[in-house]
Assembly symmetry: C2
Homo-oligomer: 316 residues x 2
DNA sequence: GTTAATCATTAGATATGCTGATGTACATGC
DNA sequence: GCATGTACATCAGCATATCTAATGATTAAC
């Protein structure tokens, strides 16, 4: 009959615990009592341990004298104790991970979110879970964000609208507004048709700009762009300089700048929906979960704040 | 039916190996092939792992798509890998220990051995097993050495003769010789009875000195000590100065010093036997075993060398 | 819609680990 | 010296865990 030859990989933590307990109690029987086993069980556990390591771990003097670790047993025990405390450490780390207190988190974002939602979310996350290693990747190309989400490089990403293959939670809707010089239009809503002859300032081609142009076109305007920039500050400056007017998502605009006037458009261009997304079917880490929650929270607050000036300001 | 609630302590290395293999293979089946199990076994191992940690470790998209670690699974795996490599490290360390290449070793010794046998043994040990942590405790009181041997403070100790409760290996026998000024006696053996009127120089009371005096008395001499020192160089100097003669174990004497003459005694005082001892029934560490072997080796060489001058010198 | 690939589940065989009883070795006390 | 007590080892029997083999359920791809 061929015996299975055990290796160190067969070592189990109960072996170490038994070794430790017997070593400190001095007898198998007392160790058994302390661990809730019978003497026979401990005897067999130690025997099994000795088969695994290939050496006796105790000197058994026989009779009523206590057993004593062999030098090999001492060596094994000191290594084993380290292993046990490592295991306990792992338990603690996993518990922290479970609460979202540690872990890596890679987030995708794009400009307008980076400037408005993200700082709030990051701030709250860092306050509540300071040890989460957060990395942020920004791109103005939706497909790049989605690729990295799909590959697993990103855990979650802010996105405009929804994309197939992803789960998401909607954070807020961001309406398009007209940015003009103060006095250029009557305060209050402006008809899209009034923009027919206006020179337009816009962004370079991106999902948001496309949505915007599609909206204008469906209202009968074929906008003539005299300048394009993806820097929202530059766009606003050009408007102030009288180069033209711009249609931008509200989140891209500095709402309280008195040097520009904001006007809702009628008919409204369908607002872009900002969500946070992750790969469908992929379990989120607790930290990522927390991030999503915070994003929803911040999104709701922001939605409230941006509704006010848009309605209120033209009346001012 | 009450279920047993597993804890992290129930984690086994096979769980980690399965986790790792499935993670890198992408499917349970291929992992099973690689590990020599059936797919069912791996499925059950992962299920068991998930019960232990309380979380799914894989996202299973269903159908022919590969499984993928959950963030929790990733975290667990990275900790688990560390644990596995620790275990392998322990295996290596134990192997080195088994060969006597690492470990602590506490050795007891006394003066004459410290001056003759020990340096040789230590030298060879350090050369062959440089990473053994050797500590040496020296005492001229046999009982102190034995106490520390018994308590486990010392692993092995050089001793004179044998003591109950210890196992030992004999290294050499160290004959007593007479040390006198050259010309004081005829070269060759000296009769103990000729020492009747000689003033004697001896050591303070210790096991070796007692053996010595007992030997002289049993030959009819009641030695009159005019000076005692435990420093062998001092004793020799006093002999050279003409203060008296000394009877010392040969190992305590500088055998090639032309300013003193060495004489065997007739009838010989029964030589002291030098052994190396350890607690009976206690398994020695491989390093200690090695030390014993080296001590025997050195003892044999030394026995050969000290026999020569004792026989040869009086004839010179 | 059918096929192929995947994991989960089930049932049964085997191995493992435990209990309880017994065997064996040793020290201690009379 | 012999009886006694205390300890570990071993054995038999049982419960449980773990593996294999077969089957079921789910999903992608054609």
């Amino acid at each position: 009959m061929l015996m299975y030859m055990p290796t160190l990989r067969d070592l189990e933590f109960r072996h170490i615990v038994a070794l430790d307990t017997v070593a400190s109690e001095g007898t198998f029987g007392r160790a058994a009592d302390r661990l809730g086993y019978t003497q026979s069980a401990i005897s067999q556990q130690i025997a099994s341990l000795e088969r695994i390591v290939g050496e006796p771990v105790f000197d058994r003097p026989g009779g009523p004298r206590p057993v004593e670790l062999t030098p090999f047993g001492e060596q094994l025990l000191s290594h084993g104790r380290r292993l046990l405390s490592q295991l306990d450490g792992i338990g603690n780390e996993l518990e922290r991970f479970r609460h979202g207190d540690v872990g890596r988190l890679a987030v995708g974002t794009f400009q307008s979110v980076s400037a408005t939602v993200l700082p709030q979310v990051v701030g709250r996350l860092r306050k509540q879970h300071p040890d989460v290693e957060l990395t942020v990747f920004e791109s103005d190309h939706d497909d790049e964000l989605e690729e990295r989400l799909a590959s697993g490089e990103l855990d979650v990403s802010f996105v405009v609208g929804e994309a197939a293959g992803f789960e998401s939670r909607q954070l807020l809707t961001d309406p398009f507004v007209l940015i003009a010089r103060p006095g250029q239009f009557e305060p209050g809503p402006v008809a899209v048709s009034d923009l027919l002859d206006e020179p337009m300032i816009g962004q370079h081609e991106n999902s948001c700009q496309l949505l915007n142009e599609a909206g204008l076109r469906s209202a009968g305007i074929d906008p003539a762009y005299v300048f394009r920039s993806n820097d929202n500050g530059t766009v606003a400056a050009m408007v102030r300089a009288g180069m033209g007017v711009a249609v931008l998502p509200l989140l891209c605009v500095e709402p309280d700048d008195p040097r520009t006037a904001l006007h809702p458009l009628v008919p409204a261009i369908s607002a872009r929906r900002i969500s946070i997304a992750w790969r469908a079917g992929r379990t989120l880490s607790p930290a990522a979960d927390r991030f999503v929650e915070l994003a929803v929270e911040v999104g709701a607050e922001l939605a409230e704040r941006i509704a006010a000036p848009l309605v209120g300001r033209p009346a001012r």
